[in-house]
């Protein structure tokens, strides 16, 4: 079993960083699978086989999106930049530069030094299943 997602000794990493690394690796794998299915679909002439692969690619879209949302929730600055880029009409590069600049200025309520998410909240959320 490999542990390629780690670039530092795992035993030196805090648990939340190890979780982050696992989900980052998962995100990468889902993106790779989406790309592979895209290539297979481009060359596959059999309609039945294509239908199966389209269904499978849809699963990968879902997995990728869930991984991404998890990582964004845990990374306030990434989330702030993503909010400025994703699902926006217009020039993608311009949006990216603007979102990055805003995040450097502590935009979107994300104050430097705070461990909370990009909306400025304390990041408490659900406590179901947590010990009191």
């Amino acid at each position: 079993m490999g542990f390629d997602q780690y670039h530092e000794p795992p035993e030196e990493l805090p648990a939340e960083t190890r979780t982050f690394a696992r989900l980052s690796a998962s995100l990468e794998e889902e993106a790779q699978a989406i790309g592979w299915y895209q290539q297979r679909l481009a060359v596959e002439p059999d309609a039945e086989a294509r239908a199966i692969m389209e269904d499978a690619q849809g699963e990968e879209f879902k997995h990728f999106s869930m991984d991404l949302e998890f990582l964004l929730r845990r990374t306030p600055r990434w989330r702030a930049i993503a909010k400025g880029v994703l699902f926006q009409d217009g020039d993608i590069v311009e949006h990216g530069e603007a979102a990055e600049a805003a995040s450097e200025e502590g935009g979107d309520g994300d104050v430097e030094g705070s461990a909370g998410p990009g909306d400025g909240s304390l990041g408490i959320g659900s406590l179901k299943g947590e010990n009191q």
Partner: protein, 267 residues
């Protein structure tokens, strides 16, 4: 910068870190309802209403042969607890003080957590929120005068929920007085009452400030829905030479989807 206006506050990064961490720590214990209900969001400060999936009939604006319906929604409510922090104390934080006076923040955290719990457990009629205890069709049982009676009362409440077709695991939310009685008690033979109750429930026992009496409820999910707009956050209001005026704020709605998934217990 968003509506919290944190960037306008005369606070250093260290001050914000101190306040946010203190608030998280002070809220984590008393936020009992969030340990028991499903949590959706946060959906953002702009999120104003929860979709109820229901409609009212309304008269169409004109013409025959047209019917009209109006969607029902539950508006989100905003809770805000104001507090002030001494600027001298915050300057001491920047100097490295470890005993900064944050009592006003602690008190604000207690007030807003208590309000959230009361809204979820007992409802908030003026906000259109029905509470878990008051919504239940199961007649409130009695916890009993003696804590030795608690296991029987809780077991009956679990049974009443199961009779309605709702499975567990179950949790027991206890008001502060009732909780204290449980944790300080060992039954005959020394077996802790806490552990006995946990075995009956197959779930947690939760200290719930703001709750009167107790509630047994299912944790299977889908029965009690807390929808968060802005999750709890510290915002900036104003400042003068002496103090910085801040507030804790959140917006949310709460819907009981399965009233029979809970059974209230009176003290």
């Amino acid at each position: 910068m968003n509506h919290l206006l944190r960037g306008h506050a005369p606070l250093s990064d260290s001050n914000w870190k101190l306040l946010d961490e203190e608030a998280r720590e002070r809220l984590h214990g008393p936020l009992a309802a969030r340990r028991l209900v499903d949590f959706s969001g946060p959906h953002g400060w702009e999120h104003s209403a929860t979709n109820l999936g229901r409609v009212d009939k309304v008269t169409p604006p004109n013409g025959k042969g047209v019917t009209a319906l109006r969607r029902q929604v539950l508006p989100l409510v905003e809770l805000r607890a104001d507090f002030a922090i001494s600027r001298a104390e915050l300057r001491d934080d920047d100097r490295g003080a470890v005993d900064v006076d944050l009592l006003a923040l602690d008190e604000a955290a207690r007030r807003i957590a208590l309000s959230e719990n009361v809204a979820v457990f007992h409802g908030w009629a003026k906000a259109g929120i029905g509470g878990i205890a008051e919504s239940s069709p199961i007649k409130a049982g009695k916890l009993g005068r003696n804590v030795e009676d608690y296991p029987r009362s809780v077991a009956r409440a679990v049974d009443a929920i199961r009779q309605g077709g709702v499975e567990g695991p179950f949790a027991l939310a206890l008001g502060p007085d009732e909780y204290t009685r449980v944790i300080e008690t060992a039954e005959h033979g020394g077996y802790p009452l806490f552990d006995h109750l946990a075995k009956i429930l197959d779930g947690p026992i939760v200290w719930s400030p703001g709750l009167k009496g107790a509630v047994v409820l299912s944790l299977r999910g889908g029965d009690f829905l807390f929808e968060s707009g802005q999750d709890l956050a510290i915002g900036y209001d104003s400042h003068d030479g002496e103090s910085v005026y801040l507030y804790l704020e959140e917006s949310f709605s709460f819907v009981v989807a399965t009233p029979e998934a809970a059974a209230p217990l009176k003290s």
